[in-house]
Symmetry: C2
Subunit: 193 residues, 2 copies
């Protein structure tokens, strides 16, 4: 049985341990840590690289499929939005925005939109961003979070948000015209914080 490369034994010398650590970092064996941080202006290219295929597909957001780069980034960075990015190995693999869903008497409920890079789906990035956003929302004093328009055919998202504690509190019948031109329902999802 071959020892796991990360295993350190009591008779290993420091130099060989360091060498193995460097090797692991180099091969990616220790590189799956996800960092979520506020977006900076220099992240716009990476954010657009995530937004573009999703908006072009038109299956998950009620946004025009032919939206331009500047309009899409303007939407993602709408005044009042806080934008975050998820970084892995120095590459931005996801982004989300947070905002108050309403003002005045509705300002205690947060709203977020999340997006994962096309090639990075299924790696827990959306879940990590959601968890991060729930903590961030609590820290900002929000006491609930609401998603206004979760498209029912996006079953993966619906299940993930349910796993993150959200409930379907409303169903908007046929409120989304999928690119197949099939009218599908959209869900309103909600959870307290």
């Amino acid at each position: 049985m071959v020892a796991h490369p990360a295993q350190i034994n009591e008779n290993d010398d420091a130099a060989s341990v360091m060498q193995r650590i460097r090797k692991m970092i180099g091969t990616g064996a220790m590189s799956n840590a996800l960092t979520i941080r506020p977006a900076r202006s220099e992240d716009d290219d990476a954010i657009w690289a995530i937004l573009e295929p999703t908006f072009r597909a038109g299956e998950t957001y009620p946004i025009p499929r032919d939206i331009s780069r500047s309009e899409a980034l303007g939407y993602w960075h709408t005044p009042g939005h806080s934008v975050f990015v998820a970084e892995r190995d120095g590459r931005i693999v996801g982004t989300y925005y947070m905002k108050a869903n309403n003002r005045g008497g509705g300002a205690h409920v947060a709203n977020c939109g999340y997006m994962v890079a096309a090639g990075a789906m299924g790696g827990g990035i959306a879940r990590a961003m959601c968890t991060h956003s729930l903590d961030e929302a609590r820290a900002r004093g929000f006491t609930a979070m609401q998603f206004n328009f979760v498209i029912a055919s996006n079953e993966r998202a619906v299940k993930l948000w349910q796993a993150c504690g959200f409930e379907i509190v409303g169903t908007l019948p046929g409120a989304f015209l999928h690119p197949s031109r099939r009218a599908v329902d959209a869900y309103v999802m909600f959870r307290t914080l």
Copy 2:
């Protein structure tokens, strides 16, 4: 039994009929015709006179109670909103906006916000504006209308929208902090056109 002032008998002469009509118009007896038309820039004072007490009360819209005139008018006239006014006797007694509730695959669902002048409540103005908006939405090609945030304690509005064919399709628990600081539910209401 006194004849109704609007009654015209076969032996009335035209002059006396006209005199009575003028008198009725003067006293308001025939003055309940409501005209609903697109707002013009010179209507802003009248619109603000309607918005201000409603926003200050903070009981029906999730808008800051201390919103300024310019910010409130900017909100009502948000780009993409079509604003209408309801006029009676040359006085603006109500206003509403219409917009697409979403873009892209959600652009077939309209959204409206209605407001009636404080002194003109209970006169059928909200119902008339809603009926007008449903016709207007159909004419614009919308196939459904959605209200995103009808505050449950605003029972009069909830009942009126139900009478206008809307159904409660979602309940947002405690999503509105009423000025009494009581958290009340908000409803998502929807109807097809």
